[in-house]
Amino acid sequence: MRFNFFAVGLGFIFQTAFLSIRGHQLGRCPITNLFEVIIFVAWSVALFYMVVGPAYRLSLMGAFTAPLVVLLELFALIAPIEKPRSPRLPPNPWLEFHASMSLVAYGAFALACIAGVMYLVQERQLKTHHLHSIFYHLPPLTDLFAAITRLLWWGFVLYTLGLVSGFFVGEPLPWAQVFCAIGVWILYGFILQGRYLRWFAPKRVAALCIIGFSAALTLLWGITFTAQTHMP
């Protein structure tokens, strides 16, 4: 666990350095195109892991987090994403707060998704009575579920803050972007409401975290795409 923590930590330092340099060059938060957005999401995932990992003492969380961060960064670097140089616009603090807060929330949702995968892997082995080597390294089911719930709440609160701040931007935002953002908010609100009212068993909540994050990533692509096409 210590190795995983330091490995992700080292990656986090490099990501912070990259975003900082890029931010200084742009004179604003570096989330102006899909490439930067994906790097920012990967940074948020690492950030949440750094906060959550030691607090919940979830073994193997790092081993699951590191590949996701690597995948996101590889996708950002390799995928044929157009990386337009955004014009130097006057900084809009509300817009930057809105976008960065929403993306940090994605970090929490990503980690909830990872915890969900870990939950389902373990749950399946417990149900089928076929215990593989990985089973002995995974954290207890109840601890994982508690972590999922807290991460969902963290993500939801941050996302709500991001969403509400979007109304103070002072510029007209594309309707598709607004609908996508509200759609993600409703999706996670539904999962949390279902959890609170006991509509779903923990296994279903874990599965919904995976489905939710996959949908949220797709919608994020949609949001960024529409933002880029509307860029002056």
């Binding site: 373990q122 417990l126 149900k127 009575h129 215990l131 080597s133 089973f135 002995y136 995974l138 954290p139 207890p140 089911l141 109840t142 601890d143 579920f145 959890r195 006991r198 779903f200 068993a201 923990p202 296994k203 279903r204």
Partner: protein
């Protein structure tokens, strides 16, 4: 320095023979009379072996014969003997649990440490044994951390308790209902208590037996007619009644689960025939393990441990070579403060922590 080991273990002798040698004073006498400068007796329920070092050559056959004679044993063919590097390898294997009946068990390391401590306190173990045994403890620790030789439980009770911990983490806040007051359930309950379970409820057809078990495990007796209602709030159900038909079915349990959808229920059914219908396992949040599945996991763990033996042997071989080299180097120089057996006291404590 001539190092050797002579002994009996579960591989070569039966329990009756092993019992005869359990910590006898004659063993020390035999070793002294043979001119050994350092000696150590390791006696456990599965092995009795002596490790000795002498300045002169001592035939191990003679030691085996003498030991057999002290206990009026016919012949000495049950005794195994290891000398020099092979003796070092054997000790490292023993301390690492590779030579144990249950591969990878860790109790033997504690027993070896105790035996060394005893020999050191009595003056029977000196500078040479200090280096040898400290190295053995290091090897055992390395084998344990670098391989999965100790992974997984290998008895039905410990498998059940391990699974409970994989589901609930801390067992301190778990509520446990014991159904049936037999010997097996008592053993499993005691294993659960040892891992922190406090809230115990006991139910049995015979209220007297339920009360007796509840008293023995500081639990609370529950009338047999009321046990199904307990399923609404308990976390672990341990059943071992003599009922011929299942006493818990999916139809009975499903309505109760709706009220506790976010809390898992772990059912350990160690009764034969089974007390819980197998389809209960299909319910969300219910993990049902019967005696067969628990035994199968114990066997899986044993297989997994055996697969780790090769990796452990590799670590041991490396240490045997290093130890031989360090001894050869050490013989050509004066006494090293690190070789002082009094240092062993603190290093032993460190390795035990």
């Amino acid at each position: 320095m001539n190092l050797f080991c002579v002994g009996l273990s579960h591989h070569t002798a039966d329990v009756e023979t092993l019992e005869r040698f359990g910590g006898t004073a004659e063993t020390d006498c035999v070793l002294r009379s043979c001119g050994c400068t350092e000696a150590l007796l390791l006696s456990t329920c599965n092995r009795v072996e002596v490790y000795a070092a002498a300045d002169n050559f001592v035939p191990t056959d003679l030691i085996a014969r003498c030991l057999a004679r002290t206990q009026n044993l016919q012949g000495n063919e049950n005794f195994y003997r290891y000398e020099a590097a092979e003796c070092v390898r054997h000790l490292f294997r023993v301390a690492s649990g590779l030579d144990s009946m249950v591969v990878g068990e860790t109790e033997i390391l504690g027993q070896t440490k105790k035996a060394y401590e005893k020999a050191r306190a009595s003056g029977a173990a000196g500078r040479y044994f200090h280096r040898l045994f400290q190295r053995a403890f290091r090897v055992a620790k390395q084998v344990r951390t670098h391989t999965e030789i100790t992974r997984g439980a290998v008895s039905v009770g410990s498998v059940a308790v391990d699974l409970a911990q994989k589901i609930f983490g801390e067992l301190r806040n778990c509520k446990v209902l014991v159904l049936g007051a037999g010997e097996t359930s008592e053993r499993t309950v005691r294993a659960l208590i040892s891992r922190g379970v406090v809230d115990l409820r006991v139910s049995n057809r015979s209220p007297e037996r339920a009360k007796a078990l509840a008293l023995a495990v500081t639990g609370c007796p529950v009338p047999f007619a009321e046990w199904p209602e307990q399923c609404r709030e308990i976390d672990i159900l341990l059943t071992s009644t003599s009922s011929e038909v299942p006493i818990l079915s999916q139809e009975k349990l499903a309505p109760m689960l709706r009220e506790r959808i976010d809390r898992p229920l772990f059912i350990i059914d160690i009764a034969v025939p089974r007390n819980v219908a197998p389809n209960v396992n299909t319910l969300d949040g219910v993990y049902l393990y019967d005696i067969d599945s628990l035994q199968s996991i114990a066997e899986q763990s044993l297989v997994m441990r055996r697969e780790q033996v090769a990796a452990a042997e590799q670590i041991i071989s490396q240490h045997v070579a290093e130890f031989a080299e360090s001894i050869a180097r050490g013989l050509n120089r004066g006494p090293d403060p690190e070789d002082d057996p009094t240092v062993g006291e603190s290093s032993l404590r460190v390795s035990e922590s």
